[in-house]
C-alpha cells in the first residue's frame, strides 16, 4: 500500500504509523458527559468502504495526515495535512512528475 504524503510524495506504508479513527470528536476535557466520553473511547463505525483515518508519516516528514482509505480495497482517495496551515507545503504529487 502506498500513501502519497502531501510533502514527500508516494511512500510505502511501512513509513507511516496509524493514529486511529479520524471520525472521533474529543469531548471538552472538563465534560462530565459519560456517554460522550464512552463514544469517544469505544464507539467505532467500522465501515466496509471509505474510512476517515489519521496517519503520521513517522518515517519521513513526521506530519500528521488525514487519510480516506477504503477498507475493502485499500484504495486511498484523499490525503491531506491534519493542520490546515501546512497547505502551502502541498506541492508534490505523483502525477506532477514529468
Amino acid at each position: 500500500m502506498l500513501i502519497t504524503c502531501p510533502y514527500c510524495g508516494p511512500r510505502d506504508v511501512i513509513e507511516f504509523t496509524y493514529q486511529g479513527d479520524g471520525n472521533r470528536e474529543r469531548p471538552d476535557p472538563a465534560s462530565q458527559n459519560f456517554e460522550a466520553w464512552n463514544a469517544y473511547v469505544y464507539d467505532r463505525l467500522n465501515p466496509a468502504g471509505d474510512h476517515n483515518e489519521i496517519w503520521q508519516h513517522s518515517g519521513g516528514c513526521r506530519t500528521h495526515l488525514r487519510v480516506v482509505r477504503n477498507t475493502l480495497t485499500h484504495e486511498i482517495s484523499s490525503v491531506a495535512f491534519v493542520r490546515g496551515d501546512h497547505a502551502s507545503g502541498a506541492r508534490r504529487k505523483a502525477e506532477d512528475r514529468s
Binding site: G9, R11, E15, G59, G60, C61, H86, A90, R91, R97
Partner: protein, 195 residues
C-alpha cells in the same frame, strides 16, 4: 570547541574494497561538516525563515517541498513542512542562526554532534541507495540540491542530492557506524573506495 571524533572510525578503512577489479563505481566518504542545524518555522513564518537562511548562508532556497541547494561548503534543504536542515563546513552556524531566527520566526536546534553525514558518490550511487530506500532516486524525481526524509530499518535518514551521482546522507550519530557498515556491504558487489 571540543575535538569531535568520528563514530565511523573503527570501521572506516581507507582504500578500495569489494569487487573493484573492473573499476570502482562507488566512493564513500564522511563529510564531517563543522556545524549542522535544524530550523523550524512557526505556522505562517516559513518565508521569514527562508529569508533568515539566505541572510546567514547566502543560499536562496527554492520554493517547493524538499527544495534545497548546496554551494559545496554550505548546504540547505527542506525535510518537512516549514523545517530545514542546514550544514556548513565551518563551525558556529547555530550561533549565527540564533541571531537571525528570532523567537517570533521559529526555532534553531544545533545537531552538529548529533548527526553524521555520509557521502555516497559514483555511477552506481543511485543503484546502491535504491537497495536501501523505497524512494525514487531518478534525477527527474529527485533533482540536484533537493532533500528527502526517509528511513532504513527504522534508522531515519535525510538525504540531499549534492550532485548528479552524489548524495549526502544525514543519519543519527549513534546509528552511523551500523549504517556505514551496511552501506559498505551493499557497495561490495560494484566495488567501492573509501576516502
Amino acid at each position: 570547541m571540543v575535538e569531535r571524533q568520528s563514530p565511523l572510525e573503527p570501521e572506516l578503512h581507507i582504500g578500495s574494497h569489494g569487487n573493484f577489479e573492473h573499476g570502482i563505481e562507488i566512493l564513500l566518504t564522511e563529510t564531517r561538516p563543522g556545524s549542522i542545524v535544524q530550523l523550524a518555522a512557526w505556522p505562517g513564518e516559513e518565508k521569514n525563515l527562508m529569508t533568515a537562511i539566505r541572510t546567514v548562508t547566502g543560499l536562496a532556497l527554492p520554493d517547493g517541498a524538499g527544495g534545497g541547494l548546496s554551494d559545496g561548503v554550505k548546504s540547505v534543504f527542506g525535510f518537512a513542512p516549514g523545517k530545514f536542515t542546514v550544514a556548513d563546513d565551518a563551525e558556529g552556524l547555530a550561533a549565527a542562526f540564533a541571531e537571525a531566527v528570532t523567537p517570533a520566526i521559529g526555532t534553531v536546534t544545533d545537531l552538529s554532534h548529533g548527526r553524521t553525514v555520509i557521502r555516497i558518490a559514483g555511477p552506481k550511487a543511485e543503484w546502491v541507495l535504491a537497495k536501501f530506500f523505497a524512494i525514487d532516486f531518478a534525477l527527474t524525481a529527485f533533482p540536484v540540491g533537493a532533500g528527502r526524509s526517509t528511513a532504513h530499518h527504522d534508522v531515519f535518514a535525510q538525504i540531499q542530492r549534492t550532485g548528479a551521482d552524489q548524495f549526502d546522507i544525514y543519519v543519527f550519530r549513534s546509528f552511523a557506524r551500523s549504517f556505514w557498515k551496511a552501506l559498505c556491504h551493499a557497495s561490495e558487489e560494484v566495488g567501492y573506495e573509501v576516502q
